[in-house]
């Protein structure tokens, strides 16, 4: 059974005349690393808000169709119940930290559900450990760098032990190195069984981690599949999605008649493919 299943989801924000999501249907299997991408304003963030019930419970508006997350219909369960299954991390880390010390903030969600202190301490320790911010536990949020703040935000969500982690452009406020470090950490969590849904524009940065890509345009999912398959078509480029540069290069070479076994997603893969091709030719 898929961990997330949407059927004909259509949603209109209150006061808006046209729907932001149109007839969206998709499935996500447990343990997948999903990349959700598409041009600005295509409905990616709106879709994320549906996943933990912010839509419709917090935003209102009209929602039709069905969305089942971890076996729960989002329309029938309140946000705080869904929050135990789906952790949502937003773009700006600054606005996700409430307390004046890191550990207190990581505990915020657990305090809200009224967890007893013993278990809470264990969870906070664990979350600080996996996000690599144990040394920062007593620091105030404004003393941290953007990357560190985002780690705190992720730790705060992870402490609730969700099955699904949804990240809405978590690296857009970070420098490239900080971004890569966060993504490596997310990949590690994914390998331990967490289902990841990541919104990101910079495909160069994230393609190597993902095994399922969904591309949205104007409120609909227009492409849904494995990255290697999707990235071979020129359709994403037409929508304004920036494919990884190596993938683009290989697509161009292919059109010029050079044949490689596969399409690479990373420079490392590309160099291996080139090596193999040269080796074959030498024979």
């Amino acid at each position: 059974m898929p961990i997330i299943e949407a059927r004909n989801l259509t949603y209109t924000y209150p006061g808006s005349s046209s729907p932001s999501l149109r007839d969206v249907s998709f499935k996500v299997e447990r343990g997948e690393f999903v990349l959700l991408t598409g041009p600005s304003g295509c409905g990616k963030t709106t879709l994320c808000r549906c996943l933990n019930g912010l839509i419709p419970h917090f935003y209102g508006g009209t929602l039709s169709g069905e969305l089942v997350v971890s076996g729960l219909k989002i329309t029938e369960h309140p946000i705080h119940e869904l929050a135990l299954h789906v952790g949502l991390v937003f773009q700006n880390p600054e606005n996700q930290i409430f307390a004046l010390s890191v550990e207190k903030d990581v505990a915020f969600g657990l305090e809200n559900i009224g967890m007893d202190r013993e278990e809470m301490r264990r969870r906070v320790e664990w979350a600080l450990e996996v996000t690599g911010i144990k040394d920062l536990r007593d620091r105030a949020p404004h003393e941290l760098s953007g990357g560190q703040q985002q780690r705190v935000a992720i730790a705060g969500v992870l402490a609730m032990r969700p099955e699904i982690l949804v990240l809405d452009e978590p690296t857009s406020f970070l420098d490239p190195l900080g971004a890569v470090r966060i993504l490596e950490m997310i990949k590690k969590l994914n390998e331990e069984g967490l289902t990841i849904i990541l919104i990101e524009h910079r495909l160069d940065l994230v393609s190597r981690y993902v095994d399922h890509v969904m591309i949205m345009n104007e409120g609909s999912i227009v492409l849904d599949g494995r990255p290697r398959e999707l990235f071979q078509s020129s359709y994403p480029e037409l929508l304004g999605v920036g494919l990884p540069k190596v993938t683009k290069l290989f697509n161009m070479l292919r059109n010029d008649g050079l044949n490689f076994k596969d399409v690479p997603l990373t420079p490392e893969e590309a160099s291996r493919l080139v090596e193999e091709a040269l080796h074959d030719r030498g024979r």
Partner: protein, 268 residues
């Protein structure tokens, strides 16, 4: 704004930091009460000296000096204005006791700033919020308080960014009459407020996503527990208050008099 630095908590650890915020608050309130109770320069000086151990134990000397520097500046202002008003009120004549009184009032101000500065320097707003919570204040208010403190540096930074942006488009803040200068700040205030509202929406979203309001009974990561140091400080506070009440009673009965400081100094 370095004066306000003397009130901003920075994560640190010391004997003063570890004291229970409730007891610390009681202590500060006792100092406040005594300072208000007496109009004698000698008592105010004693109260001021009483602050030294706290500053030493809290290891906040440098920040504390910042608030003190600001306080001395204002205290001089208080001193001069009191002397002037008495000079005119009592018919262009000033007695030694008037000087003593003005000095006492200025010193009282310094004492109040000193003690509250120590309190805020050594008390994390997280614990302050917790203290409020455990004193029966509804959690929503405590949360609002902690969040307000949390976002002061964020908003200050944002205001600076907006000022820079508006300046780089040629806006001149320090130009024109007083009214004009106040009006100059409107193009800074509007984006600041709009941003703050947007920010609050994002905050609400993030709070909802972290199970805000899911149970009636919240638990708390930090706890407040009275330790030996807290009992000691509570005892000191109660003793100080009782002694000063007793002395005040004796003074009012006319049994003792608190000596003036200035004549003593002048005689030597």
């Amino acid at each position: 704004m370095s004066f306000l630095e003397g009130f901003r908590f920075r994560g640190s650890d010391s004997l003063m930091h570890r004291l229970d915020p409730r007891v610390k608050f009681v202590y500060v309130c006792v100092i406040f009460l005594i300072a208000v109770m007496y109009t004698d320069f000698l008592v105010q000086v004693l109260l001021f000296i009483l602050q030294f151990p706290a500053v030493y134990l809290g290891r906040v000397y440098r920040q504390w000096m910042k608030s003190m520097r600001g306080a001395v500046f204002l205290a001089v202002f208080i001193l001069v204005s009191i002397l002037l008003s008495q000079y005119f009120y009592y018919g262009y004549n000033l007695l030694l006791s008037d000087f003593e009184y003005a000095l006492a009032m200025s010193m009282r101000f310094i004492v109040l700033v000193a003690s509250f500065s120590i309190f805020f320097l050594t008390t994390s707003p997280d614990y302050l919020g917790l203290a409020l919570e455990q004193s029966g204040v509804p959690y929503q208010f405590c949360f609002a308080f902690v969040t307000a403190v949390r976002f002061v540096p964020v908003l200050a930074e944002e205001a600076q960014r907006i000022i820079d942006a508006q300046r780089s488009r040629g806006m001149e803040l320090e130009k024109g009459s007083f009214l004009k200068r106040v009006r100059n700040y409107i193009p800074i205030l509007i984006p600041l407020i709009v941003n703050a509202v947007k920010r609050s929406l994002e905050l609400a979203e993030s709070m909802e996503s972290r199970a805000w309001g899911s149970s009636k009974k919240r638990s708390s990561y930090y706890t407040l527990k009275l330790r030996r140091g807290d009992y000691a400080l509570a005892a000191i506070s109660i003793a100080a208050l009782s002694i000063s009440l007793y002395v005040k009673y004796l003074v009012m009965q006319g049994l003792i008099r608190i000596p003036m400081v200035l004549p003593l100094i002048l005689r030597t």
